[in-house]
């Protein structure tokens, strides 16, 4: 239900360039917003400020050499990118991943979903104007997850941890007890965070009913992930098209109905709780044994094409690889979740004010590395 306020005053629209370097465009995203006073009448996004041409560079590198590229695509959740890419190449080369490798992959992917939602929710509050406090509270947990990944693969942001056929190194013995210690801390924190923020009058006023994305428009634009689930689409690849061993865990898919900024925020909070549930089940069942199928560092997959998609924290992340039998892929295409999720930005934002434009854009949670590739 949108109330219409007829503006009697005829004002002359002016173009405001919310430029590539803006404090809350999550990277180098540029919008030419046509404003009429404070009301946004039209926006025209301009991309390409972080287009590094990964798809072209990938055609000159071996299949293992591409893994560092996938870390830098959606740099807020590199583990999920690694997982998606490895699944696509394993489907192409027909490699069977041992049990322990699968479990390590699920644990790291779910930890990465927690870390990504931390920044997504925190950045959303920054765009609403809360001066960094909710962001820093959330960043503490991301630091804890950084420690866990640092223990696994030695880097805090670009992990380069998964390999075709499993993972690169085994879990150190103090990893699983640390995760077991981290999960109750996170649950306690999530309750405190909801108490801290969920009923804040100004946040509720800024987010309830703002930037509504209807279900039909979301499906028509191909939107996936928490943004789609907040509009009522009950579609989650971990349940509808279970890859790796997601069918062994029971968890449910949080959805909401009216698809406004508040629902996008709350779906992410609930998804973090579901990820904690999956992690609790996963760390109990990690078997021993090999963590990596014996696949050489330079492989020659048979000629052909394959597409594998996973439920990355931002939505459906897919890798379409065409191979001609040589050591490098013939064509390497990444389904850009963030770029496609932005497809409905224009419809969601028209008619709202400049402050809402920034807030709605923040609630979609995109990463420029994945948009521009």
């Amino acid at each position: 239900m949108t109330t219409t306020q007829e503006l009697t005053l005829k004002t002359e629209p002016f173009i405001l360039n919310i430029g590539p370097m803006h404090p809350s465009t999550h990277g180098v995203f540029r919008m030419r917003a046509t404003l009429d006073g404070e009301v946004v009448t039209d926006i025209e996004p301009v991309f390409g400020y972080l287009h590094r041409g990964i798809e072209k560079l990938a055609e000159e590198r071996t299949y293992t050499g591409i893994i560092p590229f996938t870390d830098r695509l959606d740099y807020l959740s590199p583990m999920s990118n690694n997982l998606g890419y490895c699944l696509a190449v394993e489907k192409l080369a027909g490699v069977k991943v041992p049990e322990r490798g699968e479990y390590i992959r699920i644990i790291t992917a779910e930890l990465q979903r927690l870390a990504n939602h931390c920044v997504a929710i925190g950045a959303m509050f920054n765009d609403a104007g809360a001066y960094f406090t909710p962001f820093l509270y959330m960043f503490r947990n991301r630091e804890k997850i950084y420690d866990l990944f640092d223990m696994l693969c030695g880097q805090r942001v670009t992990y380069n941890y998964m390999r075709i056929g499993g993972v690169s190194q085994d879990l150190p013995e103090e990893f699983l007890p640390a995760v077991a210690k981290f999960l109750p801390q996170l649950k306690k924190f999530l309750d405190e965070y909801e108490f801290f923020v969920k009923q804040n009058e100004v946040f509720v006023a800024r987010s309830k009913g703002v930037g509504i994305l209807s279900k039909e428009l979301a499906i028509n634009c191909g939107i996936s992930g928490p943004v789609a689930r907040a509009s009522g689409i009950k579609h989650d690849l971990r349940r509808d098209d279970p890859y790796s061993i997601y069918d062994r865990f029971e968890f449910d898919i949080p959805t909401a109905e009216n698809g406004d900024c508040f629902d996008r925020f709350y779906v992410r909070v609930q998804e973090m709780r579901q990820s904690v549930r999956i992690l609790e089940q996963a760390i109990k069942q990690v078997p021993d044994g090999p963590f990596r199928a014996n696949v050489p560092q330079v492989i020659h997959p048979p000629a052909g094409e394959s597409y594998a998609h996973i439920e990355s924290p931002k939505g459906e992340l897919g890798y379409y690889i065409v191979s001609d039998g040589s050591i490098a892929p013939y064509r390497f295409h990444i389904r850009p979740t963030s770029l496609i999720n932005l497809g409905a930005l224009r419809n969601m934002v028209r008619g709202w004010k400049v402050a809402d434009l920034i807030f709605i854009f923040g609630s979609i949670d995109i990463t420029m590395g994945e948009v521009d590739r």
Partner: protein
């Protein structure tokens, strides 16, 4: 489990609806002639038993002798997917009919293919470069593009 719609079953239905549209049917990919593409996709989207309402992605591959544009559609209701392909054999100014009328999600992905691969989409309202700047010469993702 998102099952692939059996190509054989769909090919018979499609050739009944649009004679001559389907060139060949691979294991799970259906090769459609360029000019019939929007009609076929419209039919797949609206037909009762099919309901392919979700466009996963569009991409293009340069096979030197021809360009191949790959579409992947999913039906959220019946949890099925289908891969459509069209080919255009000319190397200078290849063009395919646009799907922006049917799927709004196709808009930027088609612009990206135009920008990086050089395939123009007839009927696309705002076909401009999306990633590179206007003065950039050539389309980098083509196999014969050198720096």
């Amino acid at each position: 489990m998102t099952t692939a719609l059996a190509a054989t079953e769909i090919v018979s239905q499609l050739s009944a609806q649009f004679p001559g549209a389907v060139e060949e049917a691979g294991t799970d990919a259906v090769l459609v002639k360029g000019e019939h593409l929007p009609a076929v996709v419209e039919y797949l989207k609206t037909a009762a038993g099919l309901k392919f309402d979700y466009l996963n992605f569009i991409t293009a591959v340069d096979y030197y002798s021809y360009f191949e544009v790959v579409y992947r559609l999913t039906s959220l209701e019946f949890n099925r997917y289908i891969v459509l392909k069209t080919r255009c054999y000319t190397r200078n100014k290849p063009s395919v009919l646009t799907l922006t009328g049917i799927y709004q999600g196709a808009d930027w992905q088609e612009r990206e293919i135009y920008d990086l691969m050089g395939i123009s989409f007839k009927g696309h309202k705002n076909l401009k470069r999306i990633f590179l700047w206007e003065g950039f010469d050539g389309h980098p993702l083509r196999k014969d593009w050198n720096r």
